[in-house]
Structure formats: C-alpha cells, structure tokens
C-alpha cells in the first residue's frame, strides 16, 4: 500500500487524489495522473510479465507506447477485458484491475521458464527447422503447443458489450504529436487561420515537455509555457485538441486514421459514451511531429526487471514522481544517460556509476555529472547483470582497442540504458515517403514526400528544444499556407527547410545526435550470453548473427527468420539495433542492408474500432421478400442466398408430432407439385425494366437470342454471355410492348447484369435510346406450379383470358389479381404447368395469402428453394453458377438452341467463333444415373473412366447438381463431362476416398422428356 518509491514532491500526478487499484490480485495505491506502470514503479513493483518465448522475468523498459515488455490484461468484467495493453499507456483509475500475462502458475514462479534453460534448442528459425515433421504435425500438435506456451494475452470469450463509433473529419492542417514541435506547429497553423486538429496518443498533451523540470521557453518554465499554449489553443474556434488519440494509419490522399480512447481511463464510464472512436481525418496538409524513441543498448542480460531506458526512468521521476529504484547504474552512449542521472539524483536516487561507451566524454552534461560527484567511467561497457526477479548488480568492464577487460561488479537495483534516439518515422514511412540514411545523425530521416505532409522536430532529426520549437512553428506556418491551395498541391517534393516567422527562445540540455547502433562488446562466451535486441519477441544478438551465418542478407529475410521486429510493437525499440548488428556482421554499411517496411497500425488497435456498429444483425445488409414473414410464420427453414434470406423448405409435423427433416419435407413438396400444385416465392429474381425506342436493338446486342420478332405479350428464355463467349446469366424476358422489356436475372446476378448492361449502353452504344431501371424490389413474384395451377389462380384473376388457347406457355399478360395490377407470366421452372404472378411488392403478401387460400382445396403446398432445385434438375434446367462456372459456352450447357445464329453480332458472338469454343471434347452438360439408385453423388465429385489409372488420373469432369428424386424414386445428377453428349450410354466412375461409384451417362432430362406437362 505504501508508495515507497514516490518522490517527496513534484511531478504531474495529483497527490490529493489517491486511487486504489489491483494488480495480479494484490491491492496497491497510486495517484490521479499515474499510469499503471508509474504507479507500480512507485510501489517498487518491476516484475510485470514473462517473455514471449523463454518466459524470462521482465520489467518495464520504457514509459510510453514503445514498451515491449509490460503487456497486461485490464478487465472491468468478464466481457470487458482487454489483453496486451501496454501498462505504460494504461491510465490509472479507481478500482482498475490488471493482470500479468504469459505466466503459469504465477508471475514469480513460472513453469514455462524451463524454455529459458532449453534455449540452446530454440535458436532463430526454429519454427522452420524443428516443427515441420511429420507432415501435418504442425497444425495438429506443434502450433497449438507453441501458441499455448509462447504467447500473449487471452481474448475474452464473451461478446464485447461496449460501443465503438466511427467518425469522419476534415481539416486544413492535422498535427500528429503534441510535443514541443507539434504544439508549435499547431500554434503557427492556427494563428494563420487554418482549421487545425492536434492529436496525441497520451492523456496529456505536451510530449517531452511533460518530463521537463528545468527547461524554460520564452522565459517561463516549460510546464507554464505548456499550460499557457494549450489554453490558447483550446480557446480557438479553429483548433480541435485530441488527447488519448493515436494516429495509427496513414492512407492515400491524406486520409489519417485516428483511434480515440474515450472511456478506458474512467472508473465509471457514462453509458452514453462509446469506448473508442475511429476518426477518419481527411487533412489538406499534415504535420508529423512524432518525436523520437530512445534506443536500448544490447548487452548480456539487458532484460532483467529493473533495466530501463534512461530517459524513461527520468520521465517516471520527473513526470510521475516515481523512482525506478534506490541505486542505479547507468550505461549510455550519449548524453541522455547523464541527463537522467542528474534528474534521478535530484529525485533521490543514488547513481552508482555511469558507464559510457564513448572514449571521449565531454560537454556540459558530463561536466555537471562529474561536478555532482557521480562516478563517470568512459570506455566502459556493461558485460552482464545479475538478479533473479530484479536486477541486483551490474558487471562493468573497460574496453580498450576493442578488447574487453576484467569485470567489476557493482550492486544496484536498477540499470538505466541509452543508445541515443531513433526518429519516429513510422507515419512518414506509412505515407510512402522515402527515407534517407543520414550518416551524421546515424538515423533514417524523412526524405522525399509523396503525400501532402511534412515532418517537424525530433522525428526528422532536429534536436535542441529551441530548434525543435522553431522547426515546428515553421512547418506549421508552411502547412497552413500550403493548405490554402486545394487545386495543385506540390507532390513528390522534399519540403523546403522552413524558417519560422518568429523566434521561440528556449533553454534546455541539447542531447545532440550521438548514439550507438548494434550490440556492445562483452568478451563473454557468446553461446552463454543473452543480449536482447527484441524484448517482445525474445530475439537476441546471437539469433541475428546466426541468421547472417545461415545466409540471410536482406533485413527483410533476417526479420522473418528471427522474428525480430515482428511483435506487436513492430520493433520500435529493436529495428535499428538489428540493422547495426547485421551491418557489423556482414561488414556492410547500414543503408545497404535495407529497412523493413513500417505498416499500420502504429500501435495495436482494437477490432471493435474497425467493426464499429457493423456487428450482429447490421454486420451485413439482410434482404427479405414481402412474403418472408409468412414463410417464417409457417415454419420455413431459411437459407442464405447472397444477402437474401430464402425459404429453404417448409417442414411439417408428421405422425407423432415429429418434425420432418429436409429430406422428408422436400420429397413431400416435390410430389405435391407434380401431382397437384405448389407455390414458391420467386421474388428474389433480379428484374430490370428496359425501355426506349431502341430497347429491342439493345436486347439483341446484349443477349444471344433474337428479340426483334418476339411479339409483345410473349416470353423468351434469354442467355447472356460475357464478351469472352461464356455464359454469364440467364432469365426469362417478357416483351411488354414494342419498346418495353421485363427482364429477369438470376438472384445473385442482378447487380452484375445491370452493371454489364450499363457499361455497354454508356460506353459502347451511347447512341441507343434506352433506359435501364432495376425493379428487383418493386415486384413480388409468386410462382404457382403444378397441374392444378390454372384452377388455383383462375378465380382471382381479372382481365386476362386464362384459357390454354388464349394464354399458352411462355406468354405474359397484364390484368389484375384481387384488384392489384399484375404482370402474369405463363412460365415454368418445374416442368409443370405454371404461372408467375408479378405484383407490386406492397401487395405481395396479400396476394400470396389469397393464392394459398384459393389453393387449399387442391392441397396447395408452399415449397422452398431445395424443392425448386430438385424439380428443375429433374427437367435438366441449369442454374447459372451451378452447372456453369464461367468457362461454359451456351452449347456446353445445352443452350445452343438459344443462340440467334443469324444475328450479325451480340456480346460474346465473336468469341464463340473461335475453334476451341466448339471443340468436341469440351465439357458438356449430361445427366448421370448411379447404378445403385440409392446412392446420391456428392456435388463437385470428379468423374473418371478408370479410378485405378496411374496418378494423376485423367479427370473427365465433375458432378454439378445431385439430388434424391422422390418422384422418380432414385438419385439423379447433372454433370459437366468432356465430350459428354457422345458418351451417353457409357459407364463412368466417380471416385470417392474409400471406393468408386459407377454411373451411367444419360440425357440430362430425367422427367417428362417430351415436355408434355408444360401445357397442363
């Protein structure tokens, strides 16, 4: 409960607002303004997790979003649980409950730590080398085991009860990052009158200024300047400040995705608030002020709890009033170690020694450290650390001419390391800007821009507080100016170095650009020394060297082989050191090794943010016909057909109250249609109204059939091809008038067919006077099919002569049904006498119910799509997309009769003239009858002549439709078979895993081959 490691005063925490929280079941206290990390550190807790692969004890490395170790699960309840959150970004609130991850049974004793002892057997690339045998074992055995042992957090299993919203925003200038450069940029852009959004991933805006205790800006302490600047920005109408908002993705045309965390920091979030908001910001200009990330040093045992980045330790002390320990050893390659040492000493941490990798140590900060009595040791490295769950000592050794001398052990409870700073070029790189290696800075810096963006401050290698502020101000002014030009933005340009219109005098320590990249020398047996490069994925310098020895040259290969940089932190702390190690091993300069690609998201993002409201019932649009509810009320089982819900079959209670299964229901429905009458909701058919003086000419060009001579009042089955000659869609078309066609399409094909028609009409034949209108949803379509169909509808129809002579098969008449206008088709997809009643959708259900009532005396049977499929297969009617697969010609599908041979041209005609399109060995539609009539073939099954032929067995074709036909008392199937029509009468085989099934090739019409039933 004590905050033993809290400073006596200072920091930005609110000491008047204590908060109680739990970590791994233990209660602690912190203050408002703490992160989970700072509060635990103030309580002396550093052991925060176990590493991914070796289960090594790990502590906090950093204080920000780059943290690789401190991943925790934060849960309000069983459903509201978020794994893998960085404790350094989790804001403390009253009652917060957090748990460590990847440990069993407990954090301090973890059985998985045996992996650490087994590590000689887990070298880099071990996934590829070890677990590939026997075949299939990876999926069944190794992967689940490895996932269970080497893992991250566990996702909750309950649905997420929180809301996530998605918003769009526009601005003239988006500034990413509210450190000194970003603040100055926002200020300058706002003063120029631009509409500005300033976002930052942290709870408080200010960036590095939040950790400053001695710097001054414009004559005031940095904290005062920050408060005044934020107040002035907040007061402006043209500025939106967005804390807790991560710019995680940079997408084309300056679309920046922001993740705003709205409620995670609240003890009791209001029910009206979403948990997170996704902002899609379209910015005219972007200023990236992402700052720089401190780089660790790579030396043996650099991963013990208590080993932290030096500047992060300074942030804990200055910003949060939390001391990382009582006695620290510092290992540095730049002045950041000295600045941290001085600030920590002032906060009450004793500094045991500063080991400086550099031979020459000079400058203001080292001088001040010496003056403060700190033991400063140039040319010194850390060659190891000791301690079980927390560092207890560091081993220091002199380096002379590359040789490492004897080690001296210094007791300590913390080791603070700094290898310099890496500019954060993630967003710039995501924008596809070109990075350029700057040898003097030892860093990749933004080069040529692709998008309308510019970088400012530390993320482009500028250092020194005043220079950073002035660079930010200048870039903000330039961005505001550029944003006025919406018409011709300069692209592919490197933003010119800008000069601010005013100076922003500031005083602070300038750390310069010194630093180190790679692994530091240690002189120990390399087989026994683990020097970590990538903390989160447990990659050591030894692993990187092994990869280079095994032939990896490109950094992309090294990355994939070792998995370095591939964890959820995307190598924020490891990428540059990896490059340095490879560079040294291959004796190749860093820029020659390449740089891996930075990809969104910058930090992990929740799925909820992307899903937004699109979940559950509104995940995807659901389409229902006007008759849907009737079907549901009558017990229909539904199936999904595209976005449509269609009645699949209508099970009834049989003897003893047992519900029919699909097989029984379909058998009953089929028999009813053939024996008497059935009704079917065909409303999902696509419908297009084609109108205009040139409508017939347009139809002639779009369909294979001849339309010119089709009289008004007649129907015709139309076949549509793509220009490559293959069947694209089919449907019955009614000629309503000389200049008007009622076209139907397949259920799934409607949008595609309309787009296809529009394409030709708009771009090839704009001279044709034709209008196309989708009418799919305007009409309900009720198919009444069976010998009694005419008798059922006759009493309901007015204004249409239904007699056989006046209204034969394949006609359309207009009249009324129950007083509702109808287009009545005499058409059949069952082979029986049939009608399709088209009525405006608003009357669909009423007409359906009237037909059902009128049919009762004939036992009218509503049927679903499964019965529709069986009935049409009995007649050999194809379904485009089931019998055809985009490589079938009309002739292949037995539709050669529908091709108007005399027509000069139609879409696809020229392709049909190619020799290959009429080759005799093309796959053709045939029927199959199994020798054993009880066997129903599997759709998709292959067809061969001899299943015992040497592999690969030549494949003749495949089964496209297969059903049990109750009416015929046997199974039937349709198939596409090479040269199929010439094989009628032959026996072929359908091989299955355990045996082969004998089939006979037959004509594809199984029922009423002469078509005598169509006319009733």
């Amino acid at each position: 409960m004590t905050n033993r490691f809290r400073t006596a005063s200072g920091g930005r925490i609110d000491r008047a607002a204590p908060l109680s929280f739990r970590f791994d079941g233990q209660t602690f206290s912190g203050f408002k303004g703490d992160t989970l990390a700072s509060a635990l550190i103030a309580n002396g807790v550093h052991l925060i997790g176990r590493s991914f692969k070796y289960h090594r004890p790990r502590g906090f490395l950093s204080a920000g979003s780059d943290e690789p170790n401190a991943l925790v699960n934060v849960a309000r309840d069983a459903a509201r649980a978020a794994p893998n959150l960085r404790a350094t970004q989790v804001e403390l609130h009253e009652g917060l409950k957090a748990q460590s991850q990847n440990r069993w049974p407990s954090l301090s004793f973890d059985a998985g730590a045996v992996n650490d002892l087994a590590s000689p057997f887990l070298p880099s690339g071990f996934y590829y080398k070890t677990f590939m045998w026997p075949a299939g074992a990876w999926k069944r055995f190794y992967e689940p085991k490895i996932r269970a042992m080497a893992g991250l957090g566990v996702a909750p299993e309950l649905p997420d009860p929180d809301r996530y919203t998605q918003n769009h925003a526009h601005c003239d200038v988006l500034v990413v990052g509210a450190g000194p450069a970003g603040l100055a940029a926002a200020l300058a852009a706002a003063e120029s009158g631009a509409r500005v959004i300033l976002c930052d991933e942290q709870a408080e805006l200010g960036g590095s200024l939040l950790s400053e205790v001695s710097a001054t800006i414009e004559g005031r302490p940095a904290a005062e300047w920050l408060a005044a600047t934020l107040a002035s920005l907040a007061a402006r109408d043209n500025v939106t400040l967005m804390p807790r908002t991560t710019a995680f993705g940079y997408f084309p045309h300056n679309l920046i995705a922001l993740a705003e965390r709205v409620t995670d920091h609240l003890a009791t979030p209001g029910a009206d608030l979403p948990r997170e908001r996704l902002w899609q910001v379209r910015a005219t200009e972007v200023v990236i002020a992402a700052g720089a990330l401190e780089r660790p040093l790579v030396f043996p045992e650099n991963d013990r709890p208590g080993v932290l980045l030096a500047d992060s330790a300074r942030t804990y002390a200055n910003r949060y009033g939390a001391k990382v320990g009582e006695r620290a050893v510092i290992f540095t390659a730049c002045d950041a170690g000295y600045r941290a040492a001085l600030d920590l000493k002032a906060a009450g941490v004793s500094i045991a020694a500063i080991a400086d990798l550099r031979t020459e140590v000079s400058g203001e900060l080292p001088a001040r450290a010496l003056a403060a009595g700190i033991d400063v040791r140039p040319s010194t490295v850390l060659v190891g650390t000791k301690g079980r769950l927390r560092v207890s000592s560091a081993q220091l050794a002199k380096v002379k001419n590359g040789a490492v001398g004897p080690a001296e052990t210094i007791a300590c409870d913390s080791v603070l390391i700094s290898g310099g700073f890496t500019p954060s070029v993630h967003l710039f790189s995501q924008s596809r800007g070109k990075l350029i290696w700057d040898g003097a800075a030892g860093a990749y810096l933004p080069g040529t821009s692709v998008e309308r963006e510019r970088s400012a401050g530390a993320c482009r290698g500028v250092h020194g507080l005043q220079r950073v502020l002035e660079d930010g101000y200048a870039q903000g002014e330039a961005a505001a100016l550029a944003s006025r030009d919406h018409a011709s933005p300069a692209r592919g340009a490197t933003p010119a170095p800008a000069t601010p219109s005013r100076a922003i005098p500031a005083s602070a320590e300038d750390l310069g650009s010194a630093g180190f990249i790679g692994a530091t020398p240690h002189g120990r047996n390399p087989a026994l020394a683990k020097a970590f490069v990538d903390w989160q994925n447990d990659v050591t310098s030894k692993d990187i060297l092994l990869a280079t020895r095994e032939g990896m040259r490109s950094i992309e290969h090294v990355k994939r082989y070792t998995t370095t940089g591939m964890a959820t932190d995307q190598g924020k702390t490891s990428n540059m050191n990896t490059l340095g190690i490879v560079s040294e091993a291959l004796d190749t300069p860093v820029p020659k090794i390449g740089l891996t690609t930075f990809r969104p998201p910058f930090t992990p993002t929740t799925f909820g943010l992307f899903a937004g409201a699109a979940r559950g019932d509104v995940f995807d649009p659901l389409r229902k016909t006007a008759i849907h509810d009737w079907a549901a009320e009558h017990g229909a089982a539904f199936e999904d057909v595209g976005n449509w819900k269609r009645a699949h079959y209508f099970p009834r209670a049989g003897a003893g109250g047992r519900m029919e299964d699909m097989h029984a229901a379909v058998a009953r429905e089929c028999k009813a249609v053939r024996a008497s009458v059935g009704m079917f909701d065909a409303s999902t058919l696509g419908k297009i109204e084609i109108v205009g003086p040139d409508a017939a000419e347009f139809m002639n060009r779009m369909y294979t059939n001849a339309w010119a001579k089709l009289e008004p009042g007649r129907l015709r089955y139309g076949v549509m091809l793509r220009e490559d000659g293959f069947v694209m869609d089919d449907g019955v078309v009614g000629r309503m008038a000389a200049d008007r066609f009622h076209v139907t399409t397949t259920t799934g094909g409607a949008p595609r067919v309309l787009a296809h028609m529009e394409d030709y009409l708009q771009t090839e034949w704009p001279d044709l006077d034709v209008w196309l209108t989708s009418t799919t949803e305007q009409w309900s379509v009720i198919a009444v099919q069976g010998p009694k169909a005419r008798e059922v509808i006759a009493p309901l129809i007015e204004g249409i002569d239904l007699s056989k002579e006046a209204f034969p098969h394949m006609c359309v008449r207009e009249g009324t049904i129950l007083g509702v206008p109808t287009r009545l088709f005499s058409v059949s997809f069952t082979g029986e006498l049939g009608f399709e009643i088209n009525v405006p959708s608003a009357y669909g259900r009423a007409v359906w119910e009237a037909v059902y009532a009128a049919g009762e005396r004939f036992g009218i049977t509503p049927y679903g799509t499964e019965t529709m499929h069986v009935l049409r297969a009995e007649k050999g009617y194809i379904i485009v997309g089931q019998e055809t697969d985009g490589t079938a010609t009309p002739d292949d599908a037995n539709l050669g009769w529908a091709v108007g041979k005399a027509k000069k041209d139609f879409v696809g005609k020229r392709s049909l003239a190619r020799d290959a399109m009429s080759a005799p060995d093309r796959r053709q539609l045939v029927g199959l009858k199994t020798t054993d009539p009880k066997i129903v073939l599997e759709e998709g099954a292959q067809i061969v002549t001899d299943p015992a032929a040497p592999v690969p067995v030549p494949m003749l074709g495949f089964v496209t439709s297969s059903y049990h036909s109750a009416v015929l008392g046997r199974s039937i199937a349709l198939a596409m078979v090479k040269g199929g029509r010439a094989r009628i009468g032959q026996k072929l085989m359908v091989p299955m895993p355990t045996h082969a099934i004998e089939v006979e090739v037959v004509e594809p019409v199984f029922y009423d081959p002469k078509g005598e039933r169509l006319n009733g």
Binding site: G492, D724, D905, S911
Partner: protein, 99 residues
C-alpha cells in the same frame, strides 16, 4: 483511401466508385471481321503502364456514370478525370494531383 473526382458530381471518396479497366478500348464495329489474334488483343491485352494510365471508373454509388481518369500507377494519384467519349487529355504525370 483515394479521392476521385467524378466529372459529374465532384470529388468523392473511393468507396463510391468501381474500377472499370483500361479506357479508350473501343469494341470493334464488326467483330466478325477480326482475326482471332486481333480479337484476343481487344479482349485481353492491356498496356499496364508504369506511370500515367487512362482508365475507366464508374460512380456506382453516386450518379452511376462511367467516366475516364488519368492515374499515375507509380504514385496512385489521379492527374485528371474526364467524361466518357472525350479524348485523353494531353498531360503528364507531374502536372497536378488529386483535385
């Protein structure tokens, strides 16, 4: 997400549009007069340039019209858009960006 300027409606986000392949490939007036090779060229062969590409787009969730665009396939930026039937504008890739 790209911003695409429909010549009829103005600048709109990419999700309102559907790509329509290379532009200025007219369907031959009499396909039957073409050899198989000529027909195959019309059907399948496209220029696939590195740089400026004239291509068709349809404002499918807007006015529904097809139009043409010049897009730089290297930078993925649109240089200009124009109505179907108009000639390809004589511009180069550096002459602008998305409007």
């Amino acid at each position: 997400m790209l911003i695409i300027t429909c010549p009829w409606c103005g600048a709109r986000p990419e999700v309102e549009f559907r790509y329509g392949g290379e532009a200025h490939i007219a369907r031959p007036a009499d396909p039957s007069a073409l050899t198989d090779q000529e027909w195959a060229d019309f059907l399948y062969n496209r220029t696939n340039p590195k740089g400026l590409h004239a291509e068709r787009w349809r404002h499918i969730h807007g006015c529904g019209r097809y139009f043409n665009a010049l897009r730089d396939t290297v930078s993925d930026f649109f240089v200009t858009t124009y109505k179907a039937g108009e000639a390809r504008p004589d511009v180069d890739a550096s002459s602008g960006g998305s409007k």
